[in-house]
Symmetry: C3
Subunit: 388 residues, 3 copies
């Protein structure tokens, strides 16, 4: 018990600090300080100032709504004169983080369930019924083959299929794009972000934006970098592509909103940065299955109650709004971790300098003798002890 207490006392009332050899030498001294300075500079300059190593990070949670505006007219032999407004070219009417705008289309009107010849291609062209397998339905066929070979036109026969007739012929994509005027349509993007860890939220319609401004402004990198209204043409152009080219076969545009915020500064400094990228990379040399399109139909019932539909293969541009970013705020943990490893690095100095001093300098033996105290095991211990 008493021993224990003594030990405790010893433990409490003792302070142990390493014994140091102080080598008074310009060369070594300066070298030592230089290395220390370097490491210090790195730790402070790079880790703290540049990388904000003292900040706790959080990534963004966001909600987005996009709304298109614009109206245009088309005049074709097939559809005649026609007006197109939002309800016509935005499909589906609403999505969460993206908006599709139809720019081109292949319409097949008044389809009914029935039998009709397939579109000719190497698998469907036939001489006789023998060439058509009953019930077969290839991945790319429009219907299920009946097994009969019927005339497609004066010159050609193709296998008959049970399908929505007449079947769609999408061999030719209209060029230029059917709704090329979509270039002038506008997109209003409302984005609210939230950093859960710091419970900080903000919207991309900044406090200084008035209703009047919102009605008239168009986003421009230089003049209106914070206007949330975008002109489709400008978006594509900003991404370094041509709207008219893109409109023909469709594609996907990424509207990136970056919210990098340093919450140690005023909230007003936390601003959205818009950038635009085409997400369906079109490397000219490797252009496999380009563009973006899908099919949908409008269904009608005629007098007899029979069902008709208008099939539309819609080519268009899908605007994906990608919100990302990180917010940083001072926090003790990362600070400590970085200081810790910084200090550990400072330890390297001694190691480094020791190597030089004890192995490279011509006075190394002299210095070693000063730094080290050799201790042999008992037998030779006493002898060796002298050299201290």
């Amino acid at each position: 018990m008493a021993g224990c207490c003594a030990a405790l006392a010893a433990f409490l009332f003792e302070y142990d600090t390493p014994r140091i050899v102080l080598i008074r030498s310009r060369k070594v001294g300066l070298m030592n300080r230089a290395v220390q300075l370097l490491i210090l500079a790195y730790v402070i300059g790079w880790v703290f100032v540049w990388q904000k190593g003292y900040q706790e990070m959080d990534s963004v949670v966001s909600s987005v709504t996009a709304k298109a505006k614009g109206v245009t007219t088309t005049n074709t032999s097939k559809l005649g004169f026609r007006i197109w407004d939002v309800a016509d070219y935005v499909i589906p009417a609403q999505e969460e983080n993206s908006l599709f705008i139809m720019t081109n289309m292949i319409v097949t009107m008044n389809q009914t369930q029935g039998l009709c010849p397939e579109i000719p291609d190497k698998s469907t062209v036939c001489e006789s019924d023998a060439d058509c397998t009953t019930g077969s339905a290839g991945t790319h066929s429009n219907g299920v083959a009946t097994g009969r070979c019927v005339p497609f036109n004066e010159t050609m026969n193709t296998c008959e299929v049970a399908a929505w007739c007449p079947v769609e012929d999408d061999a030719q994509v209209p060029t230029p794009a059917f709704l090329k005027a979509a270039e002038n349509f506008t997109l209003l993007i409302k984005n609210n972000i939230w950093y859960p860890k710091f419970n900080f939220s903000k919207r991309n319609i900044l406090p200084n934006i008035t209703t009047a401004y919102l009605k008239t402004c168009i986003y421009d990198t230089k003049t209106d970098p914070f206007c949330p209204v975008f002109q489709l043409g400008k978006i594509v152009e900003n991404a370094g592509h041509s709207f008219q080219d893109m409109a023909v076969e469709g594609g996907i545009m990424g509207i990136q909103i970056k919210w990098d915020c340093n919450l140690d500064r005023a909230a007003s400094h936390c601003l959205p940065r818009y950038s635009f990228r085409r997400l369906d990379t079109r490397d000219v040399d490797h252009n496999v299955s380009p563009g973006y399109n899908f099919r949908f139909a409008k269904y009608y019932n005629d007098l007899t109650g029979a069902e008709h539909r208008t099939l539309i293969k819609a080519y268009g541009i899908r605007f994906d709004i990608v919100v990302f970013g990180k917010a940083g705020k001072f926090d003790i943990i990362p600070t400590m971790i970085n200081i810790g490893s910084g200090l550990a690095l400072l330890g390297v100095t001694t190691v480094l300098c020791d190597v030089i001093v004890l192995y490279c300098m011509k006075k190394r033996y002299y210095y070693r003798e000063k730094k080290y105290k050799y201790v042999e095991d008992y037998e030779q211990g006493l002898g060796s002890d002298r050299d201290q």
Copy 2:
């Protein structure tokens, strides 16, 4: 060769440990231990216990489905008596992480492609054709101007447009909301989460939830915190807003499901926490373009085959289900990193105490003499060597 071996032997069979000065002094000793204790407390208490610095972290991968239930009736001069069920007010029928429920609407029935006067506003009211530019289509106009100035009503003339006629007049938003009864509709949310790094998956319909309970329960923070059926009214209320206000102009509600799991404990402790936020911030002082709405149309063909449509400007509440959270599980890497920096911090103690002992205490010269051994370059070297 032999020398090399000798060096290796020396390297292998030598153990070098710093020489320590043990200062037996209550003051210094206690101070030293105190500082060490503080740092240890921080490392263990804060980093490990609080911040779980010993855990590998992973963020959630999730899938969500939402299904609305509820039916109501409306009775207006325009539409007459009408029933509204899920298929009528959920648009589109299914989405991935969100669900839109129409609460208010402006219907424009039996639109056909044609010519009609624009809705009067400062840009469309006209005295003569001179006031109307042919072919112009402003961002906010409903059609393309024909250039003629026609009577809108007895008192007023507006520019004629080629458009879906009659054009929509959305000046007045119905108040109270058309489908105000939506307050009582319910939302069943099914959420499956997965932590790839730990291959841990779970759903928000907990094992102890029975079909019977699911049919009857309604989420309540207090009484039913794990019931995945939510009443729209309660959701908005929980977020601190009024459903009836929100229903008029629409908005976006965030249903946040937080899965913070400590996988070092039993899986049954990993539970979803629901919270609700209105995502389209409505600061009363800065209320620019509030709410949420979009347009869609139902298309019809009449006897003559001419196309009609019913245009609906749908105001409503979009429920975004945001799933987030982190799971932690013991892992050696972060543990080591934290221990490492913790130890590095312990090193600070010596530095700190040394400063005090060697520069601040009155016995500093005495202590310094004990700690340091001064080594000059040769010439004065021997002399200075004595003071050891």
Copy 3:
């Protein structure tokens, strides 16, 4: 001033390195090196080689499009012979990161707004009007009760409701699934990824994939691991479920695309890895509200202009495409942090060995005497100084 300069000179031209006791002992020496080796092995082997602790990490930003192909026929008494193609079974026509394919359905044709008896269940079956509360609309009812009790069929009376009549009867889910042939439909998934931090982007249609190959290939873990065309049946099978079972009540399949890239290597090594999971866990023992379905309607106007609709309760499989992954690239910060904490760990060696040497070995007193130099406060100071 002069003193200050002297101090500065002293600071600059001095190099302090701890004095070391070199214990020449095989036992201790080897032990020391062994421990050091272990820690070194851990730091290098585990942290650096295995965990790539020298890399800056970034997580993926991605865009996805999915397109289904396939056509099938059904022949039922209710609908007669009918063709189903993409426009019929994909609802909605396009989504951002997922695609729903209808595999089963309950159709209720020619609904009109009116009055009709409810579907019988314990709450709707009635003897007299007294059993029906006017205006009540339960969560699960199809309409608003009128308060009358009317015959549902010869044997049974139920409460009358104002609803879309006739009301849907979804008691029986068709088995086998109505569109069981969907098993052979295919899904083309286009995925573009981007690592913002490294501005590295790639698509899942690899450069070596030709249009011809894309037209014919089907994904297969073994033979075609990089073909982006998936057969629905195979997807479900890969996830360890039966497509036909799943098709009946629907469900959610996760198509996971993992892009783990080491950007220190060639970009061609950065490849997508596909895996499949059923996201709506169906634990046989706890099968509450299984599957996935929703309702939508097609609206028609008849001669009189009265509105009809066909209500469809669609069961089906929603394919969620979940893209995740991390890219790593050498970066100085994490490297330094890890080296730092690694070095700090090396410090542990000395601590560890000291404990053994100074407390466990029989020669401990001898070693202690060599390592420590005891310094008392003045009074006894001189005395104790001798034992050095």
